[in-house]
């Protein structure tokens, strides 16, 4: 039964049928052959699969990101980061990473980062004489930090499937995200020394103060989101609504960079972007339900434990599987498909499910940077005008440090669990 389910899905997916339809049709085929499964379950689980208070925050964080991008808030973040880090060797490369880290605290989507900040960053780096493939590769690699530093849309999806606290998961992503930023900056510094890449003159205190004042209201966003969640003032879902309304107030009323007439387009586009992911989560619910009923995950766990009981080795395999699959499949789809299968393995290995969530999301975020299928890669390719192959090759020096951080997060639980253990016991 499991074989038929997976074969049906795989054949349809390879033929190019939309993933949501593949998941639904595979479930229907199996249910037709298994009289114990009522067919109405497919329709019911399409609704209950996304009827989750946690998932409600996905479109709201997406909207916050879109409003900030359209409202020019990304420009202010860029100039602030430039005033602080532009003078280091390879200056705008570091600014690119720091900008992504700040934006990560507001949006939670790698694509929003690559598309919004990417345009500003690549143009500025072009003007300063950086090779275009280097600028595009950093933009792509640094966008992977977006969903690691809270808030994070993939973490919300994982939290909904794994039924863990999204607030704890958010906090768990903070240190790994900062480590990713530092690792990328070290790589940029080394490459810049070898290639003699330019840097800005050191900013004066007055310039730093001005850029800080310009960006001040934007910089409050991460504080409002995480401060609100950690202090218990609001839930992660409510935090997403506060972030969206705050982004709306900033861009429409304070900075006046968005007109009221732009709103219908931005909101409808956000609904469509959300629907692209949610329809897959929705259709995967009956697929996962069949896997659960047929005890697929238990068989997978038993099979793996027969091969080895070495926790570190199994985690290494899981990472390799996720990294390889991440090269070929869209990260949201992978997260939805793999989470129900891998969770029992994590439980049997006594891996904390919060730490495992960070490991999974980090793996899949490296996937957004690696060719042939990587959402950030596609966006940066469009923004920079370079081919996916060119950016993919230039990204190799940045993918290596990201994998280094993944290894640290996998084998040192404290990196992800220290903050949630302190603040959200």
């Amino acid at each position: 039964m499991i074989g038929l389910l997976i074969a049906c899905f795989a054949i349809l997916a390879i033929l190019g049928v939309p993933i949501a339809v593949c998941l639904g049709v595979a479930s229907i085929v199996v249910m037709l052959l298994h009289p114990a499964f009522p067919l109405i379950t497919v329709a019911q689980r399409m609704i209950t699969g996304i009827d989750s208070y946690v998932l409600i925050s996905v479109p709201l964080f997406m909207l916050a990101g879109s409003l900030m991008n359209e409202g020019g808030i990304t420009d202010r973040i860029f100039w602030f980061a430039r005033a602080l880090f532009g003078h280091i060797r390879g200056g705008l490369g570091h600014v690119n990473v720091v900008g992504s880290m700040i934006f990560a605290g507001m949006s939670g989507s790698a694509v929003a980062d690559a598309g919004g900040l990417g345009q500003v960053e690549i143009k500025a780096m072009d003007d300063q004489g950086f090779p275009r493939d280097f600028s595009a590769a950093i933009t792509c690699a640094s966008s992977a930090i977006g969903p690691i530093i809270p808030p994070s849309i993939p973490m919300l999806i994982y939290a909904a499937i794994a039924e863990v606290s999204p607030g704890k998961l958010f906090l768990a992503g903070f240190l790994p995200g900062v480590l990713m930023g530092i690792a990328l900056m070290i790589a940029i510094f080394i490459l810049s020394l070898f290639n003699d890449y330019p840097r800005d003159p050191r900013s004066t205190l007055r310039q730093i103060a001005k850029s800080f004042a310009d960006a001040f209201l934007c910089l409050l966003t991460p504080l409002i989101i995480m401060g609100g969640i950690m202090s218990g003032v609001f839930t992660p879902t409510e935090a997403s609504a506060v972030a969206a309304v705050y982004a709306f107030v900033l861009s429409l009323l304070i900075y006046r960079t968005i007109r009221l007439t732009d709103l219908p387009r931005i909101i409808v586009d956000t609904a469509v972007t959300t629907a692209v992911v949610m329809i897959i989560v929705s259709a995967s619910a009956s697929f996962s339900w069949i896997l659960l009923i047929e005890r697929a995950a238990n068989e997978l766990v038993a099979g793996i434990l027969q091969l080895t009981t070495d926790k570190n080795l199994i985690l290494l395999w899981l990472n390799i599987v996720m990294l390889v699959l991440g090269c070929f499949m869209e990260n949201g789809v992978l997260l939805i498909l793999l989470t129900p299968l891998f969770l029992p393995i994590a439980v049997s290995l006594n891996v904390d499910l919060i730490q495992f969530g960070v490991i999974m999301v980090l793996n899949l975020m490296i996937g957004v940077v690696t060719p042939p299928v990587g959402m950030s890669l596609f966006v940066v390719s469009k923004v920079s005008g370079l081919s996916i192959g060119t950016i993919g090759r230039a990204s190799i020096p940045f993918i290596i440090p990201l994998i280094g951080v993944l290894a640290l997060v996998t084998y040192i639980p404290a990196i992800s669990l220290w903050l949630p253990n302190i603040f959200m016991k």
């Binding site: 190019g16 049709v25 067919l39 609504a241 969206a244 909101i267 972007t273 629907a275 692209v276």
Partner: protein, 171 residues
């Protein structure tokens, strides 16, 4: 046949326009309901107990109506490995993919309606609204998708016989 194609295209464009008009106020209501939940609890000290139920309903409507717009824009996620390898067989594949999608969404219309009627008497505990408000969006959005698919079938059929339609870009 071309006349039929034109009628179906207009029907698809109109359905899309109506969907977009519907999504905007629903999405705005959704944002305001979730934000209102925070405001009523912490500013006015009177929690709105039914806000979570309204938020779930409007969220589902936003997602499924958004999915109908995705069908019109043809941007549902799919693997594109074979697209460049297919050459002249591409229109036949496109038609086959459309037919598989139609079969799935038709199934959802039938089973979604059954479910809708089944949950009609069941009420949400806080708001007292029928749960049909939540489940009704499934058959409705799939019906909207069908209008788009009807046009895609005829468009793909014209491509298959080597006479692509030129009816102007979709709105």
């Amino acid at each position: 046949m071309r006349r039929l194609a034109l009628i179906l295209k207009r029907a698809s464009d109109t359905t899309d326009r109506i969907t977009r008009w519907a999504v905007f106020p629903i999405a705005v209501a959704f944002i305001l309901i979730v934000f209102g939940g925070v405001m009523t609890r912490f500013v006015f000290r009177t929690p709105m107990v039914s806000s979570e139920e309204f938020a779930r309903i409007t969220f589902l409507w936003t997602c499924f109506l958004g999915a109908a717009i995705c069908v019109k824009r043809e941007n549902h996620i799919r693997f594109e490995f074979l697209d460049n390898l297919l050459g002249k067989a591409r229109p036949a594949f496109d038609l086959a993919i459309t037919l598989v999608s139609i079969a799935f969404y038709l199934f959802l219309i039938v089973k979604g309606m059954e479910l809708f009627l089944h949950v009609l008497p069941t009420m949400f505990p806080a708001s007292g609204f029928s749960q049909a408000w939540m489940y009704g969006v499934l058959p409705l959005s799939c019906l909207m998708m069908m209008v788009h698919f009807a046009y895609f079938i005829i468009r793909d059929a014209f491509r298959l016989v080597g006479k692509p339609l030129e009816l102007g870009e979709a709105e």
